[in-house]
């Protein structure tokens, strides 16, 4: 569901990768682009502003580790801030509150068509599998056949249902259900109410009186993942009147959405208990802020990768890289880089941690130099004299021939290596960027690689 926002952000980070360092100016531009993509994902304007402000505060003045790019540093900040917003202050609040004396009540509230009835049945099914004894209460007397719908679902999942008798009001069936729950062998009741507009005073007061009367320990707002900007106003009104305890995000199996989730959490700080992912009865999943944040960013395990690079960058290595940056990048530095890469483990593994299109990553991984290739490159470099490594322009035909013999390779291999070194040198002029280096190594280590 978060694909679109993910793609956009990746595009932005790609742009940022070309930058030398994180300046106020390039942050501004990036923030503007992030704003655009979050808007497209229906994150509420105010939530975006709040988010960008925090990102800005945290980014500016942040020291960029030498081997990391500003982009990587930025990703980390954006990601942790996203998790921050999506994680409720009180960790236990994402769990259902069980009443000290049964039955535990769950009151569902929301706009028309947000998926309350389907969610009610899914919740009953979820807790039934969990060993509870849930019952469903049909308290939607407005929509034609809403009761029948719940009835059909209840019989599908085989849980008891409490229906309004002729002339009974919504509040009355709720009260009756609560009173007789234990007799009906239910220690949990899920109250399905009618969809209502937040501006419909009489309907809002109906649900408020239900809540006041039966005092449910859980009042959950059911929100459609495809909702637009107005969801903030809606959820705020419901929250003010009902004191919600959480939300459930439905229809999360649609595409390109997720904005509503940020809007709701950012505005109300309500925990998200579940995410609805299909029309089937088992299509209800717990909500994991970190997973969703990663999904929003589409960054895969990039954080693991960044940490790995950070760990590998011992002081000495950093100094050498600094030197390389300050002066000219020569084959001695190239050798250092290569050894550092080898130390970090399989390049294939590393690539799989990079964000991006799986197909493209596979392509890179297939073409990336393997351990053997690394050893060969190292052998070539070691067959050179330190002087040759420092001044690669010395390498003429006869020297190349000697090096090829010394390293058990062909002179063409040496040319390939030199070509690669040239590319890298060009890159080094703009930035010192381990990840890009990885990619370039992967992409340019062999001449017959398909371009992408």
């Amino acid at each position: 569901m978060f694909e679109s926002i993910t793609e956009k952000l990746q595009g932005i980070f790609k742009n940022l990768r070309g930058q030398g360092k994180l300046t106020e100016q390039n942050i501004e531009e990036t923030l503007k682009q992030i704003r655009a993509s979050l808007l497209e994902a229906d994150v509420h304007l105010e939530a975006i502003q709040k988010f960008l402000e925090k990102i800005k505060q945290k980014s500016l003045g942040k020291e960029v580790a030498l081997s990391l790019t500003p982009g990587q540093v930025f990703i980390k900040i954006v990601q942790s801030e996203l998790i921050n917003i999506l994680t409720p202050k009180d960790k236990t609040s994402t769990r259902l509150k069980f009443a000290p004396a049964p039955p535990t009540l769950i009151l569902l509230a929301g706009l028309q068509g947000s998926g309350k009835t389907t969610t009610a049945a899914k919740l009953a099914y979820y807790y039934k599998k969990d060993g509870r004894k849930p019952g469903l209460v049909a308290a939607d007397l407005i929509r034609p056949a809403a009761i029948e719908q719940l009835e059909v679902l209840a019989s599908q999942i085989q849980v008891p249902i409490f229906k309004p008798a002729a002339g009974e009001k919504a509040i009355e069936v709720c009260i009756r259900a609560v009173k007789s729950a234990l007799e009906s062998n239910c220690n949990m009741l899920i109250l399905d109410t009618a969809g209502r507009l937040h501006v419909d005073e009489s309907m809002m007061s109906e649900i408020t009186s239900i809540a006041q009367r039966v005092k449910p320990s859980n009042i959950l707002f059911v929100a459609d993942a495809m909702a637009g900007q107005d969801i903030v106003r809606v959820v705020t009104t419901f929250h003010n009147k009902l004191h919600l305890t959480g939300t459930i995000l439905t229809k999360a199996d649609s595409d390109a959405r997720g904005g509503a989730i940020l809007s709701i959490t950012s505005t109300t700080e309500l925990p998200i208990l579940f995410v609805g992912t299909s029309e089937k009865m088992d299509g209800l999943e717990p909500f994991y802020p970190d997973r969703i944040a990663s999904r929003i960013l589409g960054m895969g395990d990039i954080l693991t990768l960044i940490e790995k690079i950070e760990k590998n960058n011992e002081k000495q290595q950093l100094d050498k890289l600094k030197l390389a940056q300050a002066k000219s990048f020569n084959l001695n530095h190239f050798l250092d880089q290569l050894r550092q890469l080898k130390k970090m483990g399989s390049l294939q593994d590393m690539i799989s941690m990079l964000p991006g299109d799986v197909q493209m990553k596979n392509q890179i991984a297939q073409n990336a130099p393997n351990e053997k290739k690394f050893n060969q490159l190292e052998a070539i470099l070691l067959s050179m004299t330190p002087q040759e490594r420092q001044f690669p322009q010395l390498l003429d035909g006869s020297r190349k021939k000697r090096i090829a013999q010394g390293s058990g390779t062909r002179p063409e291999d040496i040319n390939i290596l030199l070509k690669q070194y040239d590319l890298m040198k060009k890159m080094m002029k703009n930035e010192n960027h381990a990840e890009k280096l990885l990619r370039q190594m992967g992409m340019n280590a062999f001449p017959k690689r398909p371009p992408f």
Partner: protein, 305 residues
């Protein structure tokens, strides 16, 4: 009719208030008589108008103000220009004739947008226009969807055709159209809600349309997508997918009686040439009104001056 427009206006009043408040901030008469375009941008964005459309609107507005520099501080002129820009966007797609005498209206859309309710309200509206209307329940998936439509049928006193349990929607349509007589008739088909990302369900819908298109003249078939006004930018993807799949001929915008409406419609008009036919403004059978760009924008924006 006047009653309906009142209803729509009431529904849109909150939005209008919001925009009108913003106008006060946008045009600061006393101190610097300049338009705060950032503020205006915010206002449009908060109404779910996409960033791209918002930027287009502002660009057009700016150029109109520039070419009328004497009026650059005239708030009445600026509001009127904005109104005109929005109306133009909406009207360009809404040049369509009346429904053919015999019509089959297929209602499609994602889950929970109000297809069944719209079917019921439409049946009522079209019956009042002297048509003989039949409702067809082709949503065999959602529990009790048929019962919901049945209740609507008896409420608005029209006939209903139901499928057998688990019968394929295409089969139901086939049976209905096979008996489609020569007499003037209007058939409203309520289909199951389907997310545009569900390939199987979209294929099912395409099949249904193929069956219908083989059996009746194309001019008789209306394919309307029902959109929830509470939706954000995803409505664009929905229209895109459904349009590509079955070739939409109309849009019904529902739940316009809430707050902050209209934005997606304007963005949609920017991208697709699909007329908006009706607005849903409540839960009773009378709560449906034909779309009118002038009225819509008038209800959305404060009067010029």
């Amino acid at each position: 009719m006047a009653f309906f427009i009142e209803k729509l206006k009431r529904g849109l009043k909150k939005t209008a208030d919001q925009i009108s408040q913003s106008w006060n901030a946008v045009i600061n008469y006393r101190t610097t008589p300049e338009i705060d375009f950032n503020k205006l941008e915010e206002t449009l964005l908060l109404a779910d108008i996409s960033l791209q459309t918002t930027e287009n609107i502002l660009k057009t507005l700016k150029s109109r103000i520039e070419s009328n520099s004497s009026k650059s501080n005239d708030s009445g002129f600026i509001v009127e220009q904005l109104r005109q820009i929005l109306v133009d966007k909406l009207q360009i797609n809404n040049q369509r004739g009346p429904l053919s005498e015999s019509t089959i209206i297929l209602l499609v859309g994602v889950n929970g947008v109000g297809k069944t309710t719209t079917a019921g309200k439409l049946a009522h509206q079209l019956t009042h226009q002297g048509r003989s209307v039949t409702l067809v329940a082709a949503d065999t998936f959602r529990a009790a969807a048929e019962e919901q439509l049945t209740q609507w049928a008896s409420r608005v006193k029209v006939d209903i055709v139901k499928g057998l349990e688990n019968e394929a929607p295409a089969t139901i349509i086939y049976k209905v159209l096979k008996n489609f007589s020569e007499r003037t008739q209007t058939i409203i088909i309520d289909t199951a809600g389907r997310l545009h990302t569900r390939v199987g369900l979209m294929e099912e819908l395409k099949k249904l349309v193929r069956v219908a298109e083989k059996m009746i003249p194309l001019t008789m078939l209306e394919k309307w997508i029902v959109l929830d006004a509470n939706m954000g930018q995803n409505a664009i993807h929905q229209v895109e997918e459904f349009h590509q799949g079955i070739g939409l001929t109309g849009i019904v915008l529902t739940k316009v009686d809430g707050t902050a409406k209209g934005g997606i419609v304007i963005s949609l008009a920017d991208r697709f040439h699909i007329p908006i036919v009706y607005l849903g403004v409540g839960e009773t059978m009378d709560d449906i009104i034909p779309f009118d760009a002038q009225e819509f924008v008038s209800a959305l924006l404060p009067k010029a001056g």
